[in-house]
Amino acid sequence: MEDLLKVRGLKTYFYTYEGVVKALEGINLDIYKGESLGLVGETGCGKSVTALSIMRLIQWPPGKIIGGEIHFNGKDLLKISEEEMRKIRGAEISMIFQEPMSSLNPVFTIGSQIMEAITLHQNVNKKEAEEKAIEMLNLVRMPDPEKVMNQYPHELSGGMQQRAMIAMALSCRPSLLIADEPTTALDVTVQAQILDVVQRVNKELGSSMLLITHDLGVVAQICDRVAVMYAGYIVEIGTVKQIFKNPQHPYTKGLMNAIPKIHVKTKRLEVIRGVVPNLITPPSGCRFHPRCDHAMDVCKKKVPPVTKVEEEHYVACFLHEGAK
């Protein structure tokens, strides 16, 4: 399959008062054309930083991308000028955020915000922009789009706000949509609707998606492949089927065991012991070793190399080194 986005050795650090937060330590990631890739992991493992790094929206100070390459359609996004990057944002790579309420500007109507996004990248007049905006609102199944165009964000429900946000992000038909926990702030019934809209619209426009979430159910439902992140590293990547049926990394296995199962009677839910490490002074070697049941001496000393388990399925763990 053809690559749309190719991330190699991406490193992003935050220089804070307490010390350097090593948020990303060499991320390798591919997104194919037309697929959706799920990025899962605990809070603070670097999922959002990955997304913002791809968009080059890391704010300096305190954050900085200190190394790596991000190839998008053959261009290295880390080498082009800010102005070229600005033209790619919104037009070719778009992003939707976790909190729909705070992602919309409270002092402008929904219509004027979507129209602004359209006129930024397309040479259209006001009338055409309005038509396109209504078309986008229809596409995300917004009830009564003409009315919503003239409404303010606070007049809409959370689900409608997120639909408006999706319409805005997709208004220029980007080839990659980054969705940073798009349903976390919504209640469960609305979640399903929003996910359905995202998935369907994405298919219709033929764009790829990077879906960031900590909800494995969501991933199983709408993603083609999954990448599992832990403390600034991608520890395992593979198709949804491979990861869910045959997890290889102890952390992924722990995550899978932590999902409650309806048909199996258990007294207590299994947990991964310990807490997420502090990224200013991360554990040496494999960052997961203090919480890992299979930790060996080598885990404390060296960062585990990425090993191929099967086609499309890679894992970074010493248990699998040499199991090629």
Binding site: M55, L57, R89, A91, M95, F97, N105, N150, Y152, A169
Partner: protein, 310 residues
């Protein structure tokens, strides 16, 4: 009618919001009193030529620096010197026989002009410098804010006095001096607001859509920082006039013979025991003007604060 209905439908949300804001405002008694005072003063200023009994003449003079300036002249009637309030002279007359009521009415025009010019100029400077400092940060921020600190470290009235004295006695110079004193407050305020708003998700969302910096500042940040700035502007309209009157009082402002409230108090000070009306009415005018804007500003703060709104 069809056109109006169409407009109403399209702007339904806007109309609803405006109505809501107005209803909040109507329920605050003090701000309504403030607004009433201000409307009263503005009406007086607008209709000054019809209300006043005497009118100034304006003469073009060559000043010592070789520039032409327009100066205000009031006719002198020594026969009517220091008359108490009567039907002829509502507020009495001063030591040159000028009608004090007429001078106060014309003085309202000057006060509003000083207030608006100083506050708007200071806000424009504040928005530009504050936006640069707050949005771009770094060395530029450091530089602008340290200069602001230098200005803020000197007491306002003293600084204004120094500038007014250095520039020479004229009401225009008072305005320049007051702009110099007032811009740092706005720069500070706007920078702080921008620092806060810059971190909002919708600003990040705008950036993720490829919005250029200028548009982010003017469309996404500034409109969301405007409420406290607007409140500050309203409050300052009164304070600026108070300070201008202060400068005139100590002889650094308007030229003698001008209808300026502070100057009138200064001139009348000598006669305070013989002619109480000479200082009382200009003083009352200043009090009502400053009070009006302070009450309105206070009311606006409650109405515009999104946390107190709902």
């Amino acid at each position: 009618m069809g056109f109006i209905d169409e407009w109403k439908k399209r702007n339904e949300s806007r109309i609803k919001e405006t109505k809501f804001t107005l209803s909040l405002f109507r329920h605050s008694l003090l701000s309504m009193i403030g607004l009433g005072l201000i409307i009263f003063i503005v009406l007086i200023a607008l209709f000054a030529p019809y209300l006043a009994k005497e009118h100034p003449t304006y003469v073009r003079l060559l000043n010592p620096e070789g520039k032409y300036v327009t100066e205000e002249r009031w006719d002198i009637h020594f026969g009517d010197k220091l008359l108490p309030p009567s039907r002829e002279h509502y507020f009495g007359t001063d030591d040159y026989g000028h009608d004090i009521f007429s001078m106060i009415v014309y003085g309202a025009r000057l006060s509003i002009k000083i207030g608006l010019l100083v506050v708007i100029s200071a806000t424009i400077i504040g928005v530009i410098l504050g936006a640069i400092a707050g949005y771009f940060g770094g060395y530029l921020d450091e530089l602008i804010m340290r200069i602001t600190d230098i200005f803020l470290s000197i007491p306002g009235l003293i600084l204004a006095m120094a500038f007014a004295a250095a520039l020479g006695r004229s009401i225009e110079h008072v305005m320049y001096a007051l702009i110099i004193v007032w811009w740092p407050t706005y720069t500070r305020l706007i920078r702080g607001q921008i620092l806060k708003t810059r971190e909002e998700t919708y600003v990040e969302a705008a950036r993720s859509l490829g919005t250029p910096d200028s548009k982010i500042i003017f469309k996404h940040i500034l409109p969301n920082t405007f409420a406290p700035v607007f409140v500050q502007m309203t409050m300052d309209l009164g304070n600026v006039v108070l300070n201008a009157a202060g400068l005139s009082f100590i002889g650094l402002g308007a030229n003698p013979g001008t209808a300026e409230w502070g100057l009138m108090i200064s001139m009348g000070r000598v006669y305070i025991f013989q002619a109480w009306w000479y200082v009382f009415f200009p003083g009352l005018a200043i009090v009502l003007f400053v009070l009006g804007f302070n009450l309105l500003g206070d009311g606006l703060r409650d109405v515009l604060d999104p946390k107190l709104r709902r």
